[in-house]
């Protein structure tokens, strides 16, 4: 009897230790993205990887925006893009940001981190694998041909089809005007 009680006491202790460890395990997993959501995806991205990211978001309206922290027009529209995701994220909008800062330059990366710490976007921010002409043309030949303007925005419908394209900064109203009808439409499949 005493033996059985001791065994059940020991089982109880083991269970509580395991439970405590499970709590820690989940806390640990959560601790990484909690640092800042945008930094969890602060990855170097090539044009082909970017196409995969867009394709993976099929079913959502994708708002793809290219910016650089030193680009004044980019900075003027960035807070509105953050607001756009907050407002329409629940309706199926996904902002994908790509920074054209030079990922090989520590000072440029530091500027990007500082800026994003201020902006606190709730979406993924990638950084271009190259800032050469070839990157622009691989993303969109028109972009390179037109002079590699920043900011650049392409808006995709739920089927992943590019619908709107801009080589200038937009305000919130203009963003809403494009995004709302696309959110209202259903994907064809």
């Amino acid at each position: 009897m005493a033996n059985s009680r001791s065994r059940s006491y020991s089982t109880l202790k083991l269970t509580s230790v395991a439970l405590a460890a499970l709590v820690l395990l989940f806390a640990g997993i959560k601790a990484v993205p909690a640092r800042a959501d945008y930094q969890a995806s602060f990855k170097v991205v090539t044009p082909s990887q970017l196409k995969d990211v867009i394709a993976a978001n099929k079913g959502k309206v994708v708002y793809l925006n290219f910016f650089a922290t030193y680009c004044v027009p980019c900075r003027s529209e960035f807070p509105d893009i953050v607001k756009l995701q907050k407002t329409y994220g629940s309706q199926g909008l996904q902002v994908i940001e790509v920074s054209m800062n030079d990922h090989t330059d520590p000072s440029d990366r530091a500027a990007m981190t500082k800026y994003l710490d201020e902006m606190q976007p709730s979406f993924s921010v990638y950084i271009a694998s190259s800032v050469e002409d070839s990157f622009y043309s691989a993303v969109n030949p028109k972009w390179e041909k037109d002079g590699e303007a920043l900011p650049m925005t392409t808006i995709y419908d739920r089927d992943g089809k590019p619908v709107h394209y801009y080589e200038k900064a937009l305000n919130f109203q203009q963003m809403e005007q494009d995004v709302k009808p696309l959110l209202a439409a259903k994907a064809s499949q």
């Binding site: 602060f42 082909s48 030193y70 990638y126 390179e144």
Partner: protein, 332 residues
Amino acid sequence: MKKWIVVAFIVFGMALAAPMVSAQGQDMGPMDPTMMEAPPPTFIKPAEVLKMIKDHNKSFVLVDTQPAMAYDESHIPGAINYPFQERITPPIPLPRDKTLVIYCPCTHDEDSISMAKKLAEFGYYNVKILEGGWYKWVALKYPVFGNPDGTATAASSSQPAASTETASATSNGPLTSGRPAGAVTPSFRVIDVTGKYKGQQTCYVCEYGTKPTILAFFKKPSEQNADLIVKLNKLVAQNSQKNLKGVVVMVNGKESKEWLESLAAKKGIKIPMVYLLQGPKDLGVRLYHINTAADNTFLVNDKRTVRTNLVNVKDNNFNEVAQATNKMLGGE
């Protein structure tokens, strides 16, 4: 008792390791810039490489980034061919246990620098760039395999127009610098000294967009360059109604800051004057194909495209900049 202490240690260990595991699981790209830093490119002098070749030094491998056909025609003896590519895809046929010395048929080693950065993404950190690349090696009359003249032609023909032009500068042709007419004007970072963002990083190319803009790159402060800046400022003021913009970019970097401030104060310069943060090694120099030997490079641009490229402009031929600008603005 002992048993459950051991079990407790194991599960605690798992719990502590969890954040590391989950962080690794999120790695989708080739490199996480917050985790890894690509080292700045390091250069090696041609004479040093020549000595290593003569010494039969086995600790390094020369990597020729020319197109295969150009490599076949001529290359540095012993070099292996790994043609320049925008995107490196594994497997990479380069040794990891030797120093890689990369060279390219370019004026500013731009392909080599780019290649070194890309290789760093795949863990190749022991990479050096042969200073001056193929052209300097040939100019120094160092040993080559094959016919270097044939190679130069083959290599140039596979390069964009800008590279072909800059290549001519190394063979005693006219000094060329800057993106050629017809090329686009990419966004690039500058540090503003006298413009409306003074003290900040900015991008006037981004801000001016499609407006007619003269981008004037200057090697370093000089009396002649000061005179040219005064003339440029006047030209922009005269055409302000036509939305003409002008930007002075100092290639030598921060050293020119005080000179620019003093020039703005003394001469009343209104157009923004900026410098490149990394000086002659700045990305802007590479993106714009600026020849750092040139005293100045004037790019007369419209709709984000270079219309006229003028190099080493002097006081007595600034009118060429004015004429090109007037022609661009409507042929006055």
